[in-house]
Amino acid sequence: MQKSKLQFKIKNYFFAVSVIFALLLIAVPVFAAEIYFKTDSTTVRPGDPLEVLVSLNTEKEDINAVEGTVLFPDDILKLENINEANSILTFWPEKPRVYDGNKIKFAGITPGGYQEKTGLLFSITFQAKKEGAGIIEIKDSRVLLNDGQGTPTDVKTPNFQFSIFKEAPISKSQILVSKEDKDQPEEFKPEIAQSPEMFEGKYFLVFATQDKGSGIDHYEVCEGSKKKCVIAESPYLLQNQELNQEIFVKAVDKSGNERVVTIPAQKPLPWYKNYFVIAILIIGLIIAGAILRKILWQRFIKSR
């Protein structure tokens, strides 16, 4: 009886081990893209900056779209800055911005795809408020393949653990003196467009550029004169739908460097409707009239 029990046990063990081996043999390595955090130090002192790079490892997949939400503990970290300079994402349906005090949502694309291990998405600079420990995590992430169908791929999002205490070594990000950015934002070509599906078919302006040093801070659009500028986002509904004036688009980076691009009037006024031309004509006529009057007066005097 005992012998049969032993045989049964051995059989069961053999079966279990066989199944495990079979599974190991069948198992195919699963590649998953990874959105991860990169930083110089995981420990900082209260009051110190903590710079975290949100990066993408595509794991040999060809990726062209990424989105997610970064969650951080706002009781011990204060958000100082979000920077998209040098990002692999060239266009943002949703630029990384803070919501509800402790969430940073983002969605961006890289046309043509990207296939590397260290693709910077954006960087976040925090300031450590007080002593404590916490994690920064990513939720609701999606990484899509560059296959023309937007197929999602598996994505890993490891948490970033950090601690803040008075005795922490001075962080590198505090030692590093930030390099001065003297370069203008990149060259760009704004375009005037029209679509029946938006702005009731009115003309609008689209523009986008990058700044490799400090990142783009904002854009300004000036219609007609460089003195009449408004802070704008693309797409921008043009006020002057006649398109008969120059448009200036100014890209300003976070260091205050500017690049201004001029779009000539698409439908310039004919010369007889141009105030400048009319003013010259009037001044000319006045001068000519005055000279003529003087000549006639002199002739009149001579004749007397």
């Binding site: 062209n64 040098n86 692999i88 060239t90 266009f91 349906p93 949703e94 969605a107 694309i109 890289t110 046309p111 043509g112 795809g113 990207y114 590397e116 899509l144 393949l145 560059n146 296959d147 169908q149 937007g150 370069d183 990149e186 060259e187 760009f188 070509k189 375009e191 467009a193 679509s195 029946p196 599906e197 938006m198 609008f204 689209v206 523009f207 986008a208 700044d211 490799k212 040093g213 693309s234 797409p235 690049r259 201004v260 691009v261 001029t262 779009i263 000539p264 009037a265 310039p268 006024l269 004919p270 010369w271 400048f276 031309v277 010259i280 004509l281 000319g284 001068i287 000519a288 000279i291």
Partner: protein, 316 residues
């Protein structure tokens, strides 16, 4: 006195003609300082962004020290496309330069005036029939004052088929363009992937007839890649589909509706992105719903998937 009148008249005439000429010029040209092209009235003093900085004026003997210009920050791209094809270079997804490849399919193009930093460059070409290649991207870290060479580029072949549906057992022609005398590998995906080899002619044209007896009924996908002397190998190009069925239907020559092109200009660029971004996470209008169904993924909303489709078909 007459001479004064004549002089004033001439000055006025000059001012007027200048103003009218400027108006006409504005209407007929679209010069933009900052477009990367030094043209028209742009000079190094009026538009250094396009024409570069002005060289130091020589002579004079003022005793000023000559400061040599800072070395240019430049990236040079070279490789092979298709004979006499247009090659387009995108810098961070916007068109930065175009060139025409030689009869041997070789091309070279450069871009300067860059800042130090990370750029995503991308290249594509159009074959003799206007078919576009897939985008080939190059993340490049640019160093200030240095010239970076990106060489050995080999743009993937274009591909097309002569039938949208083929009767099982009949042949289907798979063709396209690559570099001259290149070894072309054609892949046809079925339950089993089927490979065929051919060689492009001196114009880079290739054609291969596939006997569909070996394929099951249903939709199949095909793509191609090229190699020269086993040293220069392209990636696989665009994937296209055809159906194996019970009848043969020739592929229509009419231009296909291109995915991602929301303003019907046969390009996918910032304008299309902006239109899609306008509807991002909003309830889309009935009018836009039709376009979304036709040119994006057709799920009745604009989200990341639609932008991914757009990014795949991007032309700049």
């Amino acid at each position: 006195m007459k001479s004064i009148i004549v002089t004033v008249f001439l000055i006025l005439l000059a001012l007027l003609s200048g103003s009218v000429y400027a108006s006409i010029q504005e209407a007929s040209t679209s010069l933009i300082c900052g477009d990367g092209i030094c043209s028209g009235s742009e000079t190094c003093s009026t538009c250094p962004a396009d024409c570069g900085t002005c060289p130091p004026s020589g002579g004079g003997g003022g005793g000023e020290a000559y400061i040599p210009p800072a070395p240019e920050t430049k990236v040079i791209f070279s490789g092979r496309a298709y004979p006499k094809s247009t090659v387009t270079l995108l810098k961070d997804a916007q068109i930065a330069a175009t060139t025409i490849a030689g009869v041997d399919a070789n091309f070279q193009m450069s871009i300067s005036g860059l800042s130090a930093g990370n750029y995503i460059f991308a290249l594509y070409s159009e074959d003799k029939d206007g078919r576009r290649s897939s985008l080939l991207t190059f993340p490049v870290s640019v160093t200030a004052g240095a010239t970076t060479n990106v060489s050995g580029i080999f743009i993937a072949p274009t591909i097309d088929v002569d039938k949208s549906e083929v009767k099982r057992g009949d042949n289907i022609a798979i063709f396209g363009q690559s570099a001259p005398q290149a070894d072309i590998v054609i892949s046809v995906s079925s339950e089993e992937e089927y490979f065929a080899k051919t060689i492009s002619d001196r114009d880079g044209i290739y054609l291969h007839n596939v006997d569909t007896t070996i394929l099951d009924y249903g939709v199949h996908y095909t793509k191609s890649k090229a190699s020269i002397g086993n040293l220069l190998i392209s990636s696989y190009g665009q994937v296209i589909s055809f159906k194996v069925g019970t009848i043969t239907v020739l592929k229509e020559i009419k231009p296909e509706i291109s995915k991602g092109d929301l303003n019907n200009d046969n390009r996918v660029n910032l304008v299309d992105f902006s239109i899609a971004a306008f509807w991002y996470k909003r309830t889309i209008s009935a009018e836009f719903k039709l376009k979304e169904a036709e040119r994006l993924n057709g799920d009745g909303k604009v989200d990341l998937v639609d932008f991914s489709i757009m990014a795949y078909y991007w032309t700049g």
